[in-house]
Subunit: 445 residues, 2 copies
């Protein structure tokens, strides 16, 4: 059903028919339509959803709509919705709500849930603990496959996923993992401990969430166990959350590489004011860095008033320098994010970038030298520009691969620090070198 059709049915008060239709739809689609409906209609639609569906739709709404809806619900209604949400969705919700709503939700939650939610809320932002769910399926080593399946039948309804079941000892220490597929394919009498996988990939609660999800990608896992320092299983990260994190971390990297502070909300949901605030500080910062380059140029006024042609090569030299640096830094930043590179690879990367920069600078110097010779027929200008270009490309690649590594080493986000610094450093280097080579070659111009 479309938004228009739903509005029609609401106007005609055909609630029974609408109820039937809505409850056959996908929760994600309902959430999308509710987000577009006027507030009052969206509340009416929400009240028409069955209990299970309501919880799922609610979890998929953007936070502004969630906040509005909570304001319209009675405590009893709120309790029904949140009781059916998975713990990790509730924690995500609470982390985005104002304090009064957090209190209200915690008040209506059942005491056991409340304790778990409070614990999860205490994990540091960006830690594996902050994105895990505690609703996993746990088994014991001595169980038979039949007993295990029986336990899943009994308790599975409250678990977010039963695809991977975790085998714990009496102290909740993680001993093994088994997929529900392996359980179903094994003879009923088999002992779980005999067929479980013991080479377990896990992360610590305080591990970085991005490295946790990259581990899931590397090993192709549907769930990743999160353990404490005693190797006790405290939660699992599910693949649907991992996918969301992978996409939002990529969005963040792309934003930062393009000098925009990352936004949690999609483009169209972000206000003009918010968009502007995400961009203006970067533009001002970068503006001041390019002022530095301008000041250096001003120092060589004598050189370029004597030979005005020199000025016309400035954009090319600076752009090429910036582009060469950006190429290296983007690949290094991305390599660090996906785990393909670590800070320990620095010397390998440096040596590689050095050789790449030699190839690039030869190609660019030759192409550019020929073009200047053809266009101006002046071998000295060709030499000055090509020599500056070659050195700038090499310097840009070295700076471009080093700064993100340095940032990572210092515990900063590599994508955050690199772009403005690289541009300034490379531009300053290029302009300074250019005029000095020019003065040296042309004599006292």
């Amino acid at each position: 059903m479309t938004k228009t059709r739903i509005t029609e049915l609401l106007e005609q008060k055909r609630y029974n028919y609408l109820y039937e239709q809505l409850n056959e739809m996908n929760a994600v689609d309902i959430a999308e339509i509710m987000d577009e409906l006027p507030s009052e209609s969206s509340v009416r639609v929400f009240r028409l959803l069955s209990k299970d569906l309501a919880a799922e739709v609610f979890a998929n709404l953007p936070s502004d709509k969630q906040e509005f809806l909570i304001g319209c619900l009675s405590d009893a209604e709120l309790e029904r919705v949140t009781a059916d949400m998975f713990i990790d969705d509730t924690v995500e919700l609470l982390s985005e709500m104002p304090a009064t709503i957090v209190k209200r939700i915690l008040r209506v939650a059942d005491p056991a849930d409340r304790r778990i939610i409070n614990e999860l809320l205490n994990y540091p932002e960006n830690s594996a603990g902050s994105i895990m769910t505690t609703e996993f399926m746990d088994l014991r080593e001595h169980m038979t496959v039949e007993e295990a399946i029986e336990k899943i039948r009994r308790e599975g309804i409250d678990k977010e996923t039963i695809y991977n079941c975790y085998i714990l000892d009496s102290g909740r220490v993680l001993k093994g993992v088994i997929t529900v597929k392996d359980l179903l394919l094994a003879p009923l009498g088999t002992v779980v401990g005999d067929i479980m996988e013991t080479a377990i990939i896990s992360v610590h609660t305080l591990s970085d969430k991005e490295s946790a999800v990259m581990k899931m990608k590397k090993y192709g896992l549907m769930t990743l166990p999160v353990v404490d320092s005693e190797n006790r299983l405290v939660g699992i990260i599910t693949i649907d959350d991992a996918v969301d994190i992978i996409v939002s971390e990529s969005n963040e990297d792309i934003s930062l590489l393009s000098a925009v502070s990352p936004s949690e909300e999609p483009y169209l949901k972000t206000s003009v004011r918010r968009h502007a605030l995400n961009r203006i500080p970067w533009l001002i910062l970068l503006m001041f860095t390019s002022i530095v380059t301008g000041l250096i140029i001003a120092k060589y006024e004598e050189a370029f008033t004597a030979l005005p042609l020199l000025v016309s090569f400035l954009p090319m030299l600076m752009d090429t320098g910036g582009n060469s640096g950006a190429q290296a830094s983007a690949l290094v930043i991305r390599g660090l994010a996906t785990g393909d590179l670590t800070v320990r690879d620095y010397l390998k990367v440096l040596w590689k970038e050095f050789r790449i920069s030699i190839l690039c600078s030869i190609a660019l110097a030759v192409v550019n030298g020929i073009r200047i010779l053809v266009q101006f027929g002046d071998i000295r200008i060709a030499l000055i520009v090509s020599a500056t270009l070659s050195c700038t490309v090499v310097a840009a690649k070295i700076i471009g691969c080093s700064l993100p590594m340095l940032a990572k080493r210092l515990g900063l986000d590599p994508a955050l620090i690199s772009s403005p610094f690289i541009t300034t450093l490379v531009d300053t280097f290029a302009v300074f070198l250019y005029f000095n080579i020019a003065i040296a070659v042309m004599g006292n111009v």
Copy 2:
């Protein structure tokens, strides 16, 4: 076990012990170590793996190592490895191997597999069909839960995942989907048709693979059914492949945004020559576009020799223009990639960027105007620079959000076309406007 330990055990010919140790390791880790071992040792390690593990390790090796290994294996050994691989892994392997090896693998494959592999190889690159697997679990509507579980027990071993089971009619038309969790939680006598989900999210075989995986993210799916034009189920996309595609598409966008042709291999696995070839054409293209800006500057020689100070503001004006454009284009490109934006949103985006650009240009013009007044005490220069800056920022945002949309509309990759065009257009605009405003304000300088 580490690479060093494995090398030691190989040298000491302690094959039995090594066999035991290897077969307790994770396939991904073994593949990683094999990739670092000398070729001859890696073959010896590979021959020590049990049949199942060997197939899994093989699927995780980089393609150069796979090719080398195939060269060392007898037909019988090759058959054993490929027979145990999932169809989608085999198809991925074949798409990367030279023709002689493709022939050899197809020759040893069993005839039914060979037919399916050939069909899958014929789907266009980047289509949903090219990344799906045909090994899914199918059920019938009239089956009871007990019969369904019985069928899973019997056939599940050959399926890549049994998490989602698909309900087909006698013509293989997709009627519903049910998770193994729902099956396990339902009473054994329940009829599958009564509890299956009928609001099915699916894609066509020829749909774009990126939009297919973004659908999986949106709806939080573990598997996505791929259907033909008659809605017959032909395959499924699994979440582990979806995660790989999401990461590699993000890598591709980040590469292109930074003017590097994307590489399939990780940074350190890509040769210096390949790295250079991925970068040089872009650098040359961008070099020529900035030459255009240089030529325009050269036309205003009279203006800047009369007032050399004008030159020192050029880097700032061009950089700020480029940065403003890059901010808008990166967000739009990313929005298009993740599905947050479509070409139909163009007018909304344009209007938003226009308002954002007004806020940005006011902020930048004020900050910059004050800085020039303080530094040079010349209100005319402040006016010239700030006016140029304001107009450039507005133009840059409009160009920056429009070009990716235009590229998408024309069926091109938005990330491919935008960066060089935006820079040239904005730079040209800025330089042209700057000198004309300067001449107008300063009179016949």
